[in-house]
Amino acid sequence: MSPIRSIARRALHFVMRLAPPRTRSWGEAMIGEMDHIDDEWDALLWALGGTLALCRCSLIEHLKNFRNLLADEISARRKASHLIKSILSGVVAAATVLIISMLTLTNLQRAALVEPSQARVAQLLFAVVIPDGLCLLAALALWRPQGRLTSGILAAGAALGAHSIIFFVA
């Protein structure tokens, strides 16, 4: 192989190594074609043109891949943000129910509407049964339309239930 042809081949091979796989096969096509060109200078010009074309195509391909990657990342971030917001909303809703329930219990106790002998039962009712029951009902009602919100409500409900059980057992 003449030095000119060798240089031409090396140039094409070099660019081919940097090219994305899809463009690489076209580089192989250019190299294959170059070996069928008899004139040395024509072969060199062919390879140089091919090198430029490969560079251009590779650049476009890389930019397209980068744009797709960026779009995927933005979409994933939006999904994650939406998920966190939904779960937090669920937690806030469950916490609101608990606060209302506890305030009701406190008011009942202040107003002496709860007998001291029934205090334990009232606490169980207002701290566990009502808030957890409402959480469960809300989760069942929202399971299909608001799956992520339900996850938040259930998570908060489970934490609340666990805390209450520990409180009462201890």
């Binding site: 463009t23 076209w26 192989e28 096509a29 250019m30 190299i31 294959g32 074609e33 070996d35 069928h36 060109i37 010009l45 062919w46 390879a47 140089l48 043109g49 091919g50 090198t51 430029l52 074309a53 490969l54 251009r56 195509c57």
Partner: protein, 104 residues
């Protein structure tokens, strides 16, 4: 479905060359000589046409010692599309003739 590609004078030249022998397989250098387009212009056009599934490709093994050659021809869809697009392109035909003569 892929979006309609832009028909540049050079792409029109390549399609016109394919239409001379619609069902024959053509080599890159062969097309380059017929159209006068350099490899740097020709291959991006071929890549784009192949992406739009207007051109099909295959490798042809040749005589020993030489690497296989990549060959191209219009797909049935490419054939139909090329005829329609070149007909629409008719009013700019004179510029195509000019390009062919000038071997741009």
């Amino acid at each position: 479905m892929k979006e309609r590609f832009r028909l540049s004078p050079q792409t029109a030249l390549v399609l016109d060359t394919f239409l001379e022998k619609p069902r024959s397989w053509r080599y890159g250098y062969d097309i380059s000589r017929d159209t006068g387009l350099k490899s740097g212009t020709l291959y991006p056009i071929l890549i784009r046409l192949a992406d739009h599934e207007l051109v099909e490709t295959r490798w042809e093994t040749t005589e020993s010692g030489k690497p296989p050659r990549h060959m191209y021809r219009l797909t049935p869809e490419g054939l139909r599309s090329a005829r329609v697009r070149l007909r629409d392109y008719g009013h700019r035909k004179s510029s195509m003739v000019f390009l062919r003569e000038a071997k741009i």
